[in-house]
Amino acid sequence: MRNNSVRAIALAAALPLVALTGCTTEPSATQTTGTGTGSAAASSPASKDWFDQSLYDTQNQQRSATFEGNPEQPYLQYIAGPMRDTSKFKAPGAHKVCFANASISNPWRQTGWITMNQQLKALQGTGVISEMETRDAKDNDNTQIADIDYFIAEGKCDAFVISPNSTAALTQAVERACETGKPVVVFDRGVETDCATTFIHPIGGFAWGIDTATFLSERLQSGDKVVALRILPGVDVLEHRWAAAKKIFEEKGIQAKDYFTGADPTKIKNIISDELATGDVKGVWMDAGDGAVAALEAFEDAGKKLPVMTGEDEMSFLTKWKQTGIDAMAPVYSNFQWRTPLLALEKVFKGEPIPAEWVLPQKPILKDELDQWLQRNQGMPSGHYAKFGGEDLAGYPEVWQKRQIP
């Protein structure tokens, strides 16, 4: 009998721990299990670590930079800078592309993945790409490292496209891919090496944080409370957004309180309800739009005045924004970047120079453009991203409307 209860204590003690790890390490949202280890231990030091003044300044400037290329094709635009000579990769005919994808486990990645596949069909049609072999790492660093090594060992890839799951963990695998002498294109999250032929990404997280926090602090007064809903700790793209926003909120005296939600609408709703019970919430800041609707519903259910809010260009948020008429903006982490890697490879195989760091435009949607973007994306499902940039591709709009995930 006594053994039994000792076992019960041990089990009972272990359970919440398991539950906690369950919560912190596998959110549906973007990303990592590997780098998130110390996340629970160090918040304020961590966000200081994530803050990088020079990167902040660079991205702050890039917000108003001029982009080369045609604004009608934002996925091909870039900020002028060092170019990479690709003449050694010049080769005629169709090539096989190998794509190591971090995951398609959030609506943003799914939308991009659909667009990428339509772009692939177009390039297959013009005879640039023969086929694209994709391996999905399901948000796992180890899986993605194995995927890349599998591609290398297979030896049939004419080019690599890598969307890293996390920054530090994938660096060496990307280096191994570079050593094969084939072109390597990295996009979305970065790695700590510049061996890749090009690194494609929108301006970045600091620009997002500056845009959103400036918007909120212009509309609020010192001392007002803002609830910051963050998906999870430990991912550079997301941490940079918060690091920049936190700095600005602190400077303007805005009381910002941050929470990790795992994009779980239940948690978001509970958090907002509790915050509303302790006092007025004047603003809501999000590091990604997933769950924005739940946050607004919490205000509606409590019968409180709707907040000033920053979400994302996800259709669910844009629609709710329009319905409620709140004062809001939608920062954009340009989804059209999913087209760019394949188009970059097209240039590489032609031997045309491409930017070594390909910085794509990242322009938020403001109130005066809301109707226009809703109009352009009429009939799209709630998980669709307004700036997906695939309007000129075959299959538009049915493929995105039906959201057939390849």
Binding site: S5, A13, D290
Partner: protein, 369 residues
């Protein structure tokens, strides 16, 4: 020997005939009763920190939003008290949320058929869990873990891991709406009504022969089998009730929060923690159903309290975990002390205490929830 036994018996008899207040006091000292003290303490602290929480309108909303996890805890209670685990609960919630989102969409006429389908699906999953555990003799920890993974895989396959959009508002009303314009309370959320119904049903069930049998099976399956109960069927029904309660929780969560593949994640552990916090012994045979529900409320109050205290986001989980461990350890200790103190008659006594007089106290306490 026999005189000793006799005096033990008469002591128990005396205990059972004790006055109402004495019995209440004694009930409060058991882990199943202590959770109500813990809950009261937590709620009082929250109200002191933030008086507006105590207003009837906002308090009833708090009860409403805790209803899904409390219902899940009631379901998990049946399985745990029968000596098993149901780890598939969270996945069942997630799956049902996705089923509702994908099948109903914006079509009001599909609400009822899909609701029926969801309940059938829930009962079926419980039946499979139960039959594999009892007839194939696979430990339920493994069976339901497998079921959890299988269902999660199914959801991933179906959705690719992201939300497809919310179902029709009429369906969401079940979890989001309520009876409007009620005096004092302002609103009675439907989840509160559903929770009340579930609690009453659970309470009544535990006082009926099936409930007694369930506890007997959890305490000593061999003895229960020798006494003529069909252990496999008693346990299988417990699994079915657990999956059904997860289904109901899922229906409420679709309304409350909306469709997202993260809804329901970790629910099994929250439910198990709530049940253990409610003084129900892992391994079975001991505990009250309403204490399990109270455990869920205590847990939710704790989360709310931490929100109110404005703890750093990154620290919150750690503090939560530590408090839960301490609370559960304290509860287990007090069962243990009880056992050490009593002699060979302890077993006998505990049966009397756990099964006979105490559920009545449970209700009185439950009324406060």
């Amino acid at each position: 020997m026999s005189t000793a036994l006799n005096s033990e018996r008469s002591a128990i008899l005396k205990q059972n005939r004790a006055s109402r207040s004495e019995r209440l006091l004694r009930a409060v000292r058991t882990p199943g009763g202590a959770v109500f003290v813990l809950l009261t303490g937590l709620l009082a602290t929250i109200i002191v920190l933030n008086p507006s929480f105590g207003e009837p309108g906002s308090f009833i909303r708090f009860v409403g939003r805790t209803a899904p996890i409390a219902i899940a805890a009631i379901g998990q209670y049946f399985v745990i008290v029968a000596g098993e685990f149901d780890l598939s609960m969270g996945s069942v919630v997630t799956m049902q949320v996705i089923v509702a989102g994908n099948l109903i969409r914006q079509d009001d006429s599909k609400v009822i058929p899909v609701l029926v389908l969801m309940l059938v699906l829930g009962a079926f999953i419980g039946l499979v869990n139960g039959l594999i555990t009892t007839l194939l003799k696979v430990p339920s920890f493994i069976v339901t873990l497998g079921m959890m993974l299988a269902l999660l895989g199914l959801v991933l396959y179906w959705t690719g891991g992201a939300a497809q959009g919310n179902p029709a508002d009429s369906f969401r009303q079940i979890g989001r709406g309520g009876i409007q314009d009620v005096p004092v309370l302002d609103i009675i959320p439907y989840p509160v009504i559903i929770l009340t119904a579930a609690a009453v049903a659970g309470f009544v069930l535990m006082r009926r022969p099936y409930g007694r049998m369930l506890i007997a099976v959890g305490d000593n399956p061999s003895a229960a089998a020798l006494a003529g109960s069909r252990v496999w069927w008693v346990r299988t029904r417990a699994f079915m009730m657990s999956s059904l309660s997860a289904t109901v929780a899922g229906i409420l969560l679709v309304g409350y929060a909306g469709v997202h593949p993260s809804v329901g994640r970790g629910y099994e552990f929250t439910a198990i923690t709530a049940v253990v916090l409610g003084g129900v012994v892992l391994g079975g045979g001991r505990g009250w159903v309403l204490s399990a529900a109270a455990g869920a409320f205590a847990l939710e109050s704790l989360f709310t309290l931490l929100n109110f205290m404005g703890l750093q986001a990154t620290w919150r989980d750690t503090v939560q975990g530590a408090i839960i461990i301490i609370a559960v350890a304290a509860a287990s200790r007090s069962w243990q002390r009880k056992r050490k103190g009593a002699s060979s008659a302890a077993h006998d006594e505990q049966h009397q205490l756990a099964a006979a007089p105490t559920p009545a106290e449970g209700t009185e306490q439950g009324g406060r929830v």
